[in-house]
């Protein structure tokens, strides 16, 4: 395959131009759709990024580099029910692009030969268009090292990663759907460490880099480190009253995307939320949750060609309103789709409550302040039981006063108790938790979550 060089504007890496990518993407899908025979249908999506990754350890640069990437994904379907999918690098234009269109059509048809029909595949059927471009101010790669590490104080042991640049997600289908979402954005996901091995985790994310805001984030983390210098408390396994800070709440909410909230899993009896659907278990009236694309963290369209409404109510005052339902599940089980594609939360928005965050210690009284949780997994998926660890700035609190850090504990607790019978209060402020996952590519998304006060939380080790 010929790979002519793109000509683009300066960014984290030269040769990456949103305009040129958009033009080439349009040329590809228009050519591809024009080549479809009667009874053939297709979706074409694009995922691209131009990202500067700066990895830091012990307050210095560990690895520093830039990544330019663009991948096309083509879903090809026929009236007879045959389907196939092709993913390939997208770097060409002009004649090479025409050759790519023809070659991909041939490959798609070849890959479907003799393959049985997929009865739950969904052909493109609706027309809709959107174009969202979030412009921002991102650090130039040459400036990032000094901006991130130049203001350190003696003894700062900063570990983490800065990722900044443009991400693009786009979709077109042969029924007329066309969507484009681009965003200049960055995050610094970091922790500050003391010599005793205790740390505070924090992050700074957005679309407009403001050096003063980053330094404020660092200063707040430094201030929170003070308590961590105290002798850690060793606790015995047992039940404790806990306050889950927004980041810890977000970790627990993450388990909802491990099959729990997926309608397909519920229909196959693999989800703990089957018990909610049957009315055998319930969540607290203090718990409400939306999938809220209005937050602007992620596009409403999915690679599967679905378009979600701006906001989907999932739990309302403890009532299980609906699960995440894809078009595929709709076809298989007859439950109406809510346009979410993968049946995982991409932009959860948990409702706030009445407890001021500033009164969290006082409301907790005596117990554990859990800043962060780590490595969650089902210990009994069907029963909604989750195990995991405390991590970073977790504190022992006595009579409303933080005493000091704890030696990390393992918990084993059910979602039904955390968000149900044991949920005592929810904070009236919610924090934005940026999506910092970068497997294969920078993920789009984020969560807005409050803190939670939970009466009894079981620790086992």
């Amino acid at each position: 395959m010929n790979h002519p060089t793109n000509h683009g504007v300066a960014g984290p890496m030269n040769g990456f131009s949103e305009e040129l990518l958009s033009e080439n993407f349009s040329n590809f899908f228009e050519g591809f759709f024009a080549g479809l025979a009667k009874g053939e249908h297709a979706r074409v999506s694009l995922a691209a990024e131009n990202t500067h990754f700066l990895r830091m350890s012990r307050g210095a640069v560990r690895q520093n580099g830039v990544v330019q990437d663009a991948q096309l994904q083509i879903q090809f379907l026929t009236d007879a029910g045959s389907t196939t999918e092709i993913t390939l690098p997208f770097v060409c234009s002009g004649d090479a692009l025409k050759a790519l269109v023809a070659g991909t059509l041939d490959t798609a048809r070849r890959q479907m030969t003799g393959v049985p029909a997929d009865p739950y595949a969904n052909k493109p059927s609706t027309r809709s268009t959107s174009r969202v471009a979030h412009a921002g101010k991102i650090l130039a790669p040459e400036e990032a090292v000094d901006a991130l590490l130049g203001q350190q104080k003696p003894g700062d042991d900063l570990v983490g990663i800065y990722a900044g640049g443009k991400t693009i997600s786009a979709l077109a289908d042969s029924a007329g759907m066309q969507h484009w979402f681009s965003s200049d954005s960055f995050f610094v996901d970091y922790s500050l460490w003391l010599k005793n091995g205790r740390a505070i985790k924090s992050s700074y994310a957005g679309r407009q880099w403001q050096q003063a805001d980053y330094l404020e984030s660092l200063n707040q983390a430094r201030a929170n480190l003070e308590l961590m210098s105290r002798e850690p408390r060793v606790l015995k396994p047992g039940n404790y009253r806990v306050f889950l800070a927004p980041s810890a709440t977000s970790e627990l909410l993450g388990m909802f995307s491990w099959g729990a909230l997926a309608e397909g899993s519920i229909q196959r009896n693999e989800s703990p939320f089957c018990a909610l659907r049957r009315g055998e278990k319930s969540f607290s009236s203090k718990f409400s949750l939306n999938e809220n694309f209005a937050l602007g963290f992620a596009p409403r369209f999915s690679d599967d060609g679905e378009l979600a409404p701006e906001c989907i109510s999932l739990f309302e005052n403890g009532r299980f309103v609906q699960a995440l339902v894809s078009a595929r599940t709709q076809k298989e089980f007859g439950v109406p789709s809510n346009g979410v594609g993968s049946e995982r939360l991409r932009t959860p928005d948990m409702a706030t409550g009445d407890l001021p965050l500033s009164e969290a210690f006082k409301a907790l009284g005596t117990g554990l302040y859990l800043s962060d949780l780590h490595y969650l997994n089902w210990s009994d998926a069907i029963q909604g039981r989750v195990t995991g660890m405390t991590r970073y700035g977790c504190l022992w609190v006595e009579n409303g006063v933080p005493v000091g850090p704890i030696v990390d504990m393992r918990f084993d607790e059910t979602l039904f108790r955390c968000f149900g019978s044991e949920l005592a209060d929810v904070t009236c402020e919610a924090h934005v938790i940026p999506e910092t996952t970068t497997y294969v590519r920078r993920a789009l998304g984020g969560a807005r979550v409050p803190g939670m006060l939970v009466n009894n939380f079981q620790f086992t080790l």
């Binding site: 990754f53 003799g114 997929d118 739950y120 570990v159 460490w193 995991g388 660890m389 086992t460």
Partner: protein
């Protein structure tokens, strides 16, 4: 590709103290997936690109691009140089060409039977049949079978004369069935999450072998639906190789990674309870414990001849007779830490920089037959196939769950148990190793999903182990 990379290299103006390397990585995968007799996935995927690394003033900068044109690669090289120069202002450590050896050679997976002999239709027919085979009664709610083949091609050249190429052929077959009876829901798979993963070809998808696995999945699933809950007690625990894989991975592999010990992973994957001064000193487990880093096992999932910076890979003892000897650290980490390591600086793809990873981490066989091991236990639990894993960020306090278990009573395997879990602390757990199975009990497995690094990387690893027995372990069942 070699000629193109060398041509680009020849056009660069590289200072006498600088170094440049170009790593081409192309990965073609084919995934076919069937649920309950119907195709769910029929996907081909290509990911390819080049990462250019430039070392200037003792620092490596990188730039990665999917555009393989010469102009693009030249541009990437200059960007990599800029990043190296920027890093040098606030560098963690000053590296040199010793961390990028001029290795020359090639490696290829041993493939006995090419996968191309079967058509797409053949593969789907096979997968449909497997899901039908697992649905042996109305109690089976759903059955799923997936086959993935990945071909990986890498080519590496550098300004100090390195040139090596590696071609991998990787096969994973995953089967799983879910059943329900009297309100009990259970899941059984062929060895846990994608553990049936090997380097090779069609020899790992023989119809008879896969049929036997599907039959075992269905048989065990029905046993589990009628089984008692795993009891809660402290007792002997016997782990099958497909659970030892996870135990080795989480509580030996990760804690021995030197970059974790050096602190690089503290913000994401975590640190380690192991300290640099422990190498050569720490009694990690009982004297029965022998663990190797072995990238030379022919069909194990993570075999290779060179890591992604060119260090020749060879078998090394990490733990011998329970004593910690060597870390999982690359040439970069070895220079920083001053302890011996292995050839394990690996990248998940062309767009991620290489970091310390596991490859094949294996527990060496002992001398006890399976029959003798079970016969020597008055009471205990035998567990197979991982389904849940969680461990703290220092790799100490763990809790793992398995799909299938049997009670051991008076030297015999008796009742089947559902929802088996166990928990422990790594620093104590391996000292409780009381029996290591002989070579007849050895199982070789792998996984495509080991996550780590910032930016994140998921990489393939392999683990081989005999059946092993541990004393005084806390086991327990599911929620009531």
């Amino acid at each position: 590709m070699e000629q193109r990379l060398k041509k680009v290299l020849s056009q660069l103006s590289i200072g006498p103290a600088d170094w440049v390397g170009l790593r081409y990585h192309r990965e073609n995968s084919r995934v076919r997936e069937v649920r309950d007799g119907h195709p769910e996935t029929n996907r081909s995927s290509e990911r390819s690109g080049v990462m250019v690394e430039w070392m200037s003033d003792g620092q490596f900068g990188y730039a990665a691009t999917p555009d393989l044109g010469e102009a693009s690669l030249l541009s990437a090289a200059l960007r990599a140089r800029t990043q190296a120069q920027a890093a040098a202002r606030r560098a963690l450590y000053r590296f040199g060409t010793a961390q990028r050896p001029p290795s020359v050679g090639r490696y290829g997976s041993q493939v006995k039977s090419p996968l191309s002999t079967l058509s797409d239709a053949d593969y789907f027919e096979m997968l449909v049949a497997l899901t039908q085979r697992m649905r042996t009664s109305d109690a089976v709610i759903t059955a799923h079978a997936q086959l993935e083949h990945v071909a990986v091609e890498t080519c590496y050249v550098s300004s100090n004369g390195a040139h090596f190429e590696q071609d991998l052929s990787l096969v994973t077959v995953a089967m799983e069935a879910v059943g329900q009876k009297n309100g009990v829901v259970q899941k059984r798979s062929n060895h846990g999450l994608s553990a049936y993963s090997y380097q090779g070809g069609g020899e790992f998808i023989l119809r008879n072998t896969l049929n036997e696995q599907a039959d075992k999945v269905a048989r065990h699933l029905h046993e589990l639906l009628d089984a008692d809950e795993c009891p809660s007690e402290t007792t002997h625990l016997v782990l099958a190789p497909d659970q030892m894989m996870l135990q080795i991975h989480e509580s030996i592999g990760h804690p021995l990674e030197l970059d974790r010990i050096l602190g690089d992973e503290r913000n994401y994957a975590g640190s380690s309870f192991v300290k640099l001064e422990d190498f050569g000193q720490l009694q990690y487990g009982s004297e029965l414990l022998n663990v190797t880093f072995d990238p030379s096992v022919a069909h194990e999932f993570a075999s290779y001849a060179f890591d992604d910076v060119g260090q020749p890979a060879k078998r090394e003892y990490l733990i011998e007779k329970g004593l910690l000897k060597r870390g999982l650290g690359s040439l970069e980490s070895q220079a920083r830490a001053g302890v011996p390591g292995v050839a394990n600086q690996r990248a998940s793809s062309w767009n991620r920089p290489p970091i310390d990873r596991m490859a094949n981490i294996n527990v060496e066989p002992g001398t006890t037959s399976f029959e003798k091991m079970i016969a020597g236990i008055e009471r205990g639990v035998y567990m197979e196939s991982n389904k849940s894993w969680s461990i703290d960020d220092y790799r100490n306090k763990f809790q793992f769950g398995c799909e299938y278990a049997q009670l051991i009573e008076n030297g015999k395997l008796t009742r089947v148990l559902r929802n088996p879990n166990y928990r422990g602390v790594t620093a104590e757990f391996w000292k409780k190793l009381v029996a290591v199975g002989d070579a007849n009990t050895l199982g070789v497995f792998g996984t495509p999903y080991c996550g780590k690094g910032e930016p994140n990387q998921s990489i393939r690893v392999g683990h081989a182990s005999p059946v092993c027995a541990f004393a005084d372990v806390e086991v327990f069942g599911g929620a009531q």
